[in-house]
């Protein structure tokens, strides 16, 4: 048939110029098809990101810390994570300095905290004894157990000045959430942003302050 002949000629007897054109057009078609497919994937990928409701549930929480006694600890839930509020005693504060030689990141240089908590106490200078910390092990996200008693402890060691022990993989932290050397975790437990308003602490919101 005549039509078949025409297509045979096109397939076999195509000039170099025509071949280039065909390759260009095929490439453009495939390229735009791929871009289109890529764009079509975007809404599906985005649909898996945290929803508005999840973001809303991640809103700051408030806690009246005036009811915290010295040496007392509470856990507050923020974004589903346990946030430790610990009103440290003066002995606890003194203990922090004694064990600094055993710590991997005593100055919190490679750890996650707001600027105002990047100090040896890992707390806001306005209330240095109040530790506000995400009680989440930086190794694999378990929730470390508090060891508030100072002195020898079977899990924390003989020179313990209190701290947090992760039961999952044995990471140890001091009472400022600073990690010990040669344990699975390598960074200190994170400090969330927070601010004070009278006797109420707002966890998860510091209004962008840096001091």
């Amino acid at each position: 048939m005549a039509d078949n002949n025409v297509s045979d000629v096109n397939a076999d007897g195509m000039s170099v110029e025509d071949r280039k054109r065909r390759r260009f057009l095929t490439g453009m078609t495939a390229g735009f098809g791929a871009i289109g497919a890529g764009v079509a994937v975007v809404p599906f990928v985005m649909s898996m990101a945290p929803s508005e409701r999840a973001k809303n549930a991640g809103a700051p929480v408030q806690f009246d810390f005036s009811k915290l006694q010295e040496g007392q600890m509470v856990k507050v839930e923020w974004r589903g994570k346990p946030v430790v509020l610990l009103q440290r005693t003066s002995e606890m504060m003194a203990g922090l300095e004694q064990i600094e030689g055993n710590l991997a990141d005593a100055g919190s240089a490679s750890s996650s905290q707001p600027v105002y908590a990047q100090n040896n106490k890992r707390s806001d200078a306005a209330r240095p004894e109040l530790l506000v910390m995400e009680g989440v092990c930086t190794h694999l996200g378990c929730s470390p157990v508090e060891k508030l008693a100072l002195g020898p402890d079977p899990e924390m060691g003989d020179d313990s000045q209190g701290g947090f022990f992760c039961p999952c993989h044995g990471s140890k932290f001091d009472l400022a959430g600073r990690v010990y050397k040669n344990v699975p975790a390598t960074t200190n437990m994170a400090i969330p942003p927070y601010r004070f308003e009278g006797l109420v602490i707002h966890i998860g919101d510091d209004e962008g302050r840096i001091t």
């Binding site: 999840a54 839930e77 994570k81 694999l140 378990c142 390598t186």
Partner: protein
């Protein structure tokens, strides 16, 4: 039913003739069952392929019935599983079949993989069968991991928390990626819901497709046998292998014996020991998920524990040991190995890169890399194995010793992963981690030394 055995297109009767003109039913039946030739010396190791298919079908079937009562909702999930166990007629049976079935699936798949290793089923020309099988293994691990979150017990929750936070170590994008996978800042209802979708739709589809490809690739090259020799080297005048028998009915009937034996073990487990003493169903998972309370020991299910042990074993001291080993390998390369100067320089540069990575990387990141590498090693087996013979029956002694050491390391790692770490156990896990990787790294060497036994030209078989 008188199907002419040598004509793929000959239909059995008028009905089949009508069908065959429109759909290659008889052709497919003959090519893949009635005239698919397998060696007649198959032993019990050859049960596990068909048993894996049986488990896939059973898991799909029981899974469908579970979804009729299960609620993928963080508020309702735990209670809905209890509802299945207590109030749904025979719900306990369906659920135990599924939960025990997951463990049995892994038992069968591990034995199936081991069969491949000892008889050389991964070797040329069956590399793609092996590779597709390895992808099935990875997909199965993803399927099991996601399924384990669904009961929304406390171990489900924290197990997922630990495994998902592995992605955090990826530089720059890690935390954002984990948030995207979870769909929330923590493991939550959103995570449960999407894991349900992946577990009941996406991964089963992928698994079924991969199993199909696995079989297509297998039927292209033909099944291996316990002697690791090619049965098509000796064929009759019709081109049929002299040592081959038709898959249907002979191998199928043989596999049915395997199914019967397997069902006794599997159902015995389901009826009399469904929690496997805390191994198949972990005790901490009988309490609902609690985001503020970590279980005392986070332990994955037993089929993940060898890899989990490798993850945990990665501390500063293991990295130090690996640095020394990397240095020794380079030293050996320059002094003893008979390879080109280009290869030496290439390997040395690679080793320097690894060395620097080990020096400056954190134990956590390397734990994840090593765990992934432990699985990737399986993919490389067809090219690491240089033995002139395929089957363990004719292999050299060094291979057998290495295989025993590897199995010991694998089982010890598995045991350690089920238990809480102590300094002594961590050291043992580190030694076993080195042994695990040494098995793969040294395989080109120990498979090419030692005296192998001569392979027979025909399969070893005695009629009963």
């Amino acid at each position: 039913m008188a199907i002419h055995r040598h004509d793929n297109h000959k239909s059995a009767n008028a009905v089949m003739e009508w069908v065959d003109k429109r759909f290659p039913a008889t052709k497919v039946w003959n090519e893949h069952l009635a005239e698919y030739m397998a060696a007649k010396n198959f032993n019990f190791w050859y049960f596990f392929g068909s048993l894996a298919i049986l488990m896939l079908v059973l898991q799909l079937a029981t899974g469908i019935f579970l979804t009729m009562h299960y609620k993928p909702d963080a508020e309702l999930a735990f209670a809905s599983v209890e509802y299945i166990m207590r109030d749904v007629p025979f719900g306990w049976l369906v659920r135990y079949l599924h939960s025990t079935g997951a463990s049995m699936f892994f038992v069968v798949v591990y034995l199936h993989m081991f069969r491949g290793v000892i008889y050389g089923s991964h070797r040329e020309p069956r590399e793609l069968v092996w590779l597709i099988g390895c992808v099935i293994f990875v997909a199965l691990m993803a399927e099991a991991f996601m399924g384990y979150l669904l009961p929304w017990g406390n171990m489900s929750y924290w197990g997922a928390q630990v495994i998902l936070s592995l992605f955090d170590v990826i530089p720059y994008v890690g935390p954002a990626l984990t948030e995207w996978i979870r769909g929330d800042f923590v493991i939550s209802d959103a995570t449960l819901n999407r894991f349900f979708a992946f577990h009941v739709i996406l991964l089963p589809l992928i698994l079924v497709a991969l199993v199909f490809l696995h079989l297509v690739a297998l039927h292209q090259v033909g099944s291996n046998n316990p002697d690791g020799i090619e049965i098509y080297d000796h064929v009759d005048e019709d081109g049929k292998p002299l040592d081959g028998i038709a898959f249907f009915p002979y191998i199928v009937v043989k596999d049915l014996i395997g199914v019967a034996g397997f069902l006794i073990i599997y159902l015995g487990n389901v009826f009399f020991w469904p929690d496997g003493g805390g191994v198949l169903l972990e005790k901490d998972n009988f309490a609902p998920a609690n985001s503020l309370q970590t279980p005392p020991d986070i332990v994955p299910l037993w089929y993940f524990t060898p890899f989990y042990s490798i993850l945990r074993a990665s501390t500063t001291s293991l990295l130090f040991a690996l640095e020394i080993i990397t240095g020794l390998i380079v030293l050996w390369l320059w002094i003893r190995a008979k390879v080109s100067i280009k290869a030496k320089i290439g390997f040395t540069l690679l080793a320097i890169g690894v060395f620097l990575g080990l020096l400056f990387g954190s134990g956590k990141a390397w734990g994840v890399i090593l765990m992934a590498a432990a699985i990737v090693c399986f993919f490389l087996l067809p090219w690491l194995d240089r033995s002139p013979v395929y089957s363990i029956r004719y292999r050299s002694l060094p291979f057998k010793i290495a295989l025993v050491l590897f199995l010991a390391a694998f089982f010890i790692l598995g045991y350690l992963g089920m238990n809480s770490p102590t300094p002594g156990r961590t050291l043992l896990a580190q030694i076993c981690t080195v042994a695990y990787f040494a098995f793969f790294a040294l395989m080109p060497w120990f498979t090419s030394i030692g005296k192998t036994k001569p392979e027979p030209s025909r399969v070893v078989y005695e009629a009963h």
